[in-house]
Symmetry: C2
Subunit: 379 residues, 2 copies
């Protein structure tokens, strides 16, 4: 191995010796963003990101005489953006940027554009406000026969003496207990909303919603595996997420200073987690007072006696808020239209929010921001 090392090492040294100082990304004063990559021997470099906020955009980069490829976006709106570089056809993380999010098994770089203290960029960044605690907690699920991992946000005011309401926040298919904290910026959004008096201080519980996995990839005894999107469903579980959900509520009420009452409990989720929320709302109709279905995979069984009875009991219990949110381009729009038609026909009250875009984290951060401000106002 030593001989091989010398050969390649001298190559690397030469390349390093010629290297100009490169910073990437550079967020310019007008909100435009410049990407830079030193890659003199490369034929083609581009950057792909959600710079139009809704759709991915690919921008070719051009090579300067110093071997640095560069491109500058138009001014961007305040937002958390994700991107990667494509170098001669292969997708890479920008080596100039150590800030990354993991979505299932894909890493993407992130950056935030903020122009004012009342914009989304400001809401998603860490500001000089009191910060809550973010914990990775293991709990016992008797229903699933597993030790399982979840993420718990405790508000800055939590000190073990005062009791707080709880929002249960559920991820989508292929996600895990880290998704809402990382991609969803939950602790930043909650810290900022609470500091501004826009949300009531609350505990946020973000469990793992895949009953065949104990935890996120790499954080349980399956090792550092690379999940494909389907691995979660193929192995069979002892129960569904919905059936096992009260294990989580029981653990949280017994281990944290919660207000263990219906009016102090909310549950919300995105996509598959929206489907879980839909199921939880029917299985435990007097346990939660607030429901948030975000881009929800909400599968109904109209005409089925059990389903109809569950829905009747749920709405007879008069939950304070049944909130449905989805983007105009979401591939689950038809399913959500069917749900709304059903609720309308039955006269079951709900609120509806529709915005641009599809099945993307940009929307779920917006929905969390909106939903969190509606919760526990009368406690």
């Amino acid at each position: 191995m030593g001989c091989l090392a010398v050969v390649a090492g001298s190559f690397a040294q030469q390349a390093l010796g010629q290297r100009p100082k490169v910073k990437s990304p550079v967020i310019n004063d007008d909100g435009s963003v410049t990407f830079n990559l030193y890659a003199p021997a490369t034929q083609q470099v581009s950057v792909t990101g959600d710079f139009e906020e809704i759709h991915a955009v690919t921008l070719p980069m051009t090579k300067g005489a110093d071997g640095v490829w560069t491109v500058t976006t138009p001014p961007l709106n305040p937002e958390l953006y994700s991107y990667s570089l494509t170098v001669d056809g292969q997708r890479f993380i920008d080596p100039g940027n150590s800030y990354v999010n993991r979505d299932i098994s894909t890493l993407s770089n992130i950056f935030i554009v903020s122009k004012d203290t009342d914009d989304k960029g400001h809401l998603y960044q860490v500001n000089d406000v009191p910060h809550g605690t973010l914990s990775r907690v293991w709990y016992d699920s008797p229903t699933l026969g597993q030790q399982r991992r979840m993420t718990v946000y405790l508000p800055a005011a939590y000190d073990g003496t005062r009791r707080f309401p709880v929002l249960y926040l559920l991820h989508g298919h292929g996600g895990d207990e880290t998704a809402w904290g990382d991609l969803g910026r939950t602790s930043q959004i909650m810290d900022n909303l609470i500091a501004e008096g826009k949300a009531v201080p609350m505990i946020v519980v973000m469990p793992n919603g895949n009953p065949t996995c104990n935890a996120a990839p790499g954080w349980w005894h399956e090792g550092m595996y690379t999940p494909d999107g389907n691995a979660f469903n193929e192995r069979g579980a002892k129960a569904t997420m919905e059936e096992s959900f009260m294990d989580i509520v029981g653990f949280v009420d017994s281990h944290y200073q919660t207000i263990p009452e219906r009016e102090a409990r909310a549950v919300s989720g995105l996509s598959m987690g929206g489907g879980h929320t839909f199921g939880i709302s029917r299985l435990y109709p007097e346990t939660f007072d607030y429901y948030g279905l975000m881009s929800a995979a909400a599968r109904m069984k109209p005409g089925d006696a059990d389903f109809e009875g569950q829905m009747a009991r749920l709405f007879a219990s008069k939950p304070k808020l049944y909130w449905i949110a989805i983007g105009k381009e979401d591939f689950l729009m038809d399913m959500n239209n069917q749900l709304r038609s059903y609720l309308n026909a039955k006269g079951y009250p709900y609120e509806y929010y529709e915005n641009d875009g599809g099945h993307i984290w940009r929307n779920w951060r917006i929905y969390l921001t909106m939903f969190a401000q509606r919760l526990f106002r009368d406690l």
Copy 2:
């Protein structure tokens, strides 16, 4: 932007269409590891990692007819390894591997080789044992006039009723409150040692040791900056880490079920954190019973009356363990030799451990494993 997007998008599509399925890294049955990268247009690819455990090794990769560059290492010993790819002279993360560690502002891929349940690889991986809780906690430091972030490991047995001893574990220069948890695998090591009965269940507190930073990069209100190694020292702090340290101990004793006694407190750190440990041992001589100086930047002032008095008081208090560990090739070996000569001359008792290698995380994980097993045995 739309027009540019179409041009590069079609290029990316073509490349994707030709792409073979590539998995990287592949850990083979004999412990050798194969790296693969699809990069048909690239001229030179290599992988650089700590495959000889102590020194970085660079292995050139060779391109197959399918455009996939590949190389296989010799069989590797059980260990947590770090690596990156060099593609035409530019360092990149392996796009096949979403497991990364951040060290200051550099990301590296990681993987673990384990051959048996009693090897280091097994100790560093997540096994099917009871897991502790890992939390990012904000505390108030009156001495530094800051809200500051630290990482707290609570053992699986922690349930709010029983009290536990505390190990304070300090990072090095340029590190932060995430370093011991991520690069040091603290929660995995502690979970596994405790499950095997090799360590007493204990709380581990990993504070941020840079008094000019409230938290790790990206986790406080300075935004997503890229630190250079010196940024921490250039801005001036209200006090040193050592002077502010009892703010941390006070917070931990008031917010967790600790045993708030000397015999239930240990402090240890690596490099700069070893220097902090050295300072803390002198400033608060009857607060801790166990000290671990790992590759320590332990600056003495022999002949200085204050220093001599501090050292005399410290050893007059008879700490249960004063442990010094360093690798043969560590650039701080001279400083540690001087410290040991001083202790020998004074007759101050300590224990010494020396192993191969230098100033690297491989050694600090070993030292944590050794030190943790020595603590709190008589509680």
